[in-house]
């Protein structure tokens, strides 16, 4: 590391923030692009499991709410890809790398949404897990990303509200509805526990070293458990992990998440990975004429 890079590292570790036009080490820029691009990909791919339920949502109100959520998430991906673009990687290239399988997206978006219960669990708990990671980005050393996270976190909190409303409505319904929620929770618990990543110490995590994120993976998982396990329990739901408990030091203990599954899934081998990437490819081809028309009209 050169003296200038060392000085930069100390600056961000001391809480300093960086703007687009500031000098930055190549490694920092590369890490930023990788991290933020994966976030953009996840926002874009994250709408697909929910999109499948727009037409099947139980009421008109739910259809509208789900449509609005999908619009929010796509909007987030647009804002996030803009941040990546200003760092040097064009949006078209991000989309290309996404559909060719070169870049990654979050594990939770590789799984099927079997029932309306899954939609509720996604909107409530997947978004809750995501907002914990996202709140840790409000202090990101790269200021343009941190600023855009303010808007995104605000909208994500709204999604959790929507998800909780879906879940509470079902829990107050019939036994069958309650079963749907429990089954969905059983399906999603594994991926949710893997969501924050393997518990590498923050000091060894390059994303923390550069202060792209402000907390370690294990810390984020603890926060998630602390915030949401009590909310799950109070509804009479069972968390499918008999080892889950809070110990005397206020630390949650749980069964080791399946890290092999996580790796397998995010490298393109999830149950729905290929189908969803295929859909992205097809949609991109089918909407090519729209982009051409828009650009021709503007020219």
């Amino acid at each position: 590391m050169t003296a200038r890079e060392q000085e930069f590292l100390e600056y961000v570790q001391g809480g300093g923030q960086v703007e687009t036009s500031d000098w930055m080490p190549d490694d920092y820029r590369a890490k930023l692009i990788k991290f933020i691009e994966m976030h953009g990909n996840s926002e874009l791919m994250g709408v697909l499991p929910e999109r499948e339920w727009i037409l099947r949502a139980p009421t008109l109100q739910r259809k509208l709410a789900l449509t609005a959520k999908v619009q929010d998430e796509v909007g987030h991906s647009q804002l996030i890809y803009r941040v990546v673009e200003d760092l040097g990687k064009p949006r078209a290239q991000c989309l290309e790398d996404l559909i060719s399988g070169k870049s990654k997206f979050h594990n939770v978006f590789h799984y099927p949404t079997k029932t309306w219960g899954d939609v509720g669990v996604i909107a409530w708990l997947v978004d809750a897990a995501a907002i914990i990671s996202q709140k840790a980005l409000l202090k990101c050393s790269y200021a343009p990303y941190a600023r855009i996270m303010k808007k995104i976190c605000w909208e994500e909190s709204f999604h959790i509200l929507h998800g909780r409303d879906v879940i509470l409505t079902m829990m107050n319904g019939t036994d069958e509805q309650r079963e749907l929620v429990q089954e969905a929770l059983d399906r999603w618990w594994g991926p949710l526990m893997q969501f924050h990543g393997n518990p590498i110490p923050a000091e060894e995590d390059p994303m923390f070293i550069w202060r792209i994120k402000s907390q370690g993976n294990g810390e984020a998982r603890q926060q998630f458990l602390d915030g949401y396990v009590p909310q799950i329990w109070e509804l009479g739901l069972t968390v499918p992990d008999s080892n889950l408990r809070k110990n005397d030091d206020d630390v949650w203990e749980f069964s080791e998440p399946d890290w092999d599954e996580l790796k397998h899934v995010v490298t393109g081998h999830g149950p729905k990975t290929q189908e969803r990437l295929d859909l992205r490819r097809t949609t991109r081809d089918e909407t090519e004429w729209v982009r051409r028309a828009v650009l021709a009209e503007a020219a």
């Binding site: 909007g75 855009i148 009209e297």
Partner: protein
């Protein structure tokens, strides 16, 4: 083309940078800006500016040390102490 969007949260407040949108012309840029930053009543007005029209000035060199423009050009504490000693008075709070 990239367009920078500034957002006013309430009447009377300063416009603050909200983010940027990509759009082929000003009309599309307006619609993208509306969707991104005004959909939930979070703004009362937006400014949409082509990025090339935003000029950034990031360096403020004060070669002549013009401290008479700044608060630190007026160190009153010591002078006031001396003045009070001359007048034989105490600070208002001590009286």
């Amino acid at each position: 083309m990239i367009w920078e969007v500034f957002r006013q949260e309430r009447k009377g407040q300063a416009f603050a940078h909200a983010g940027s949108v990509e759009a082929p012309d000003a009309e599309y840029a307006d619609w993208y800006a509306r969707e991104q930053f005004g959909r939930r009543g979070e703004s009362v007005a937006l400014w949409v500016v082509a990025r090339e029209n935003v000029h950034e000035i990031g360096e403020f060199v004060d070669e002549l040390e013009r401290n008479y423009h700044r608060v630190d050009g007026y160190p009153l504490k010591e002078k006031l102490k001396e003045a009070r000693e001359r007048a034989g008075t105490a600070a208002p709070a001590d009286r």
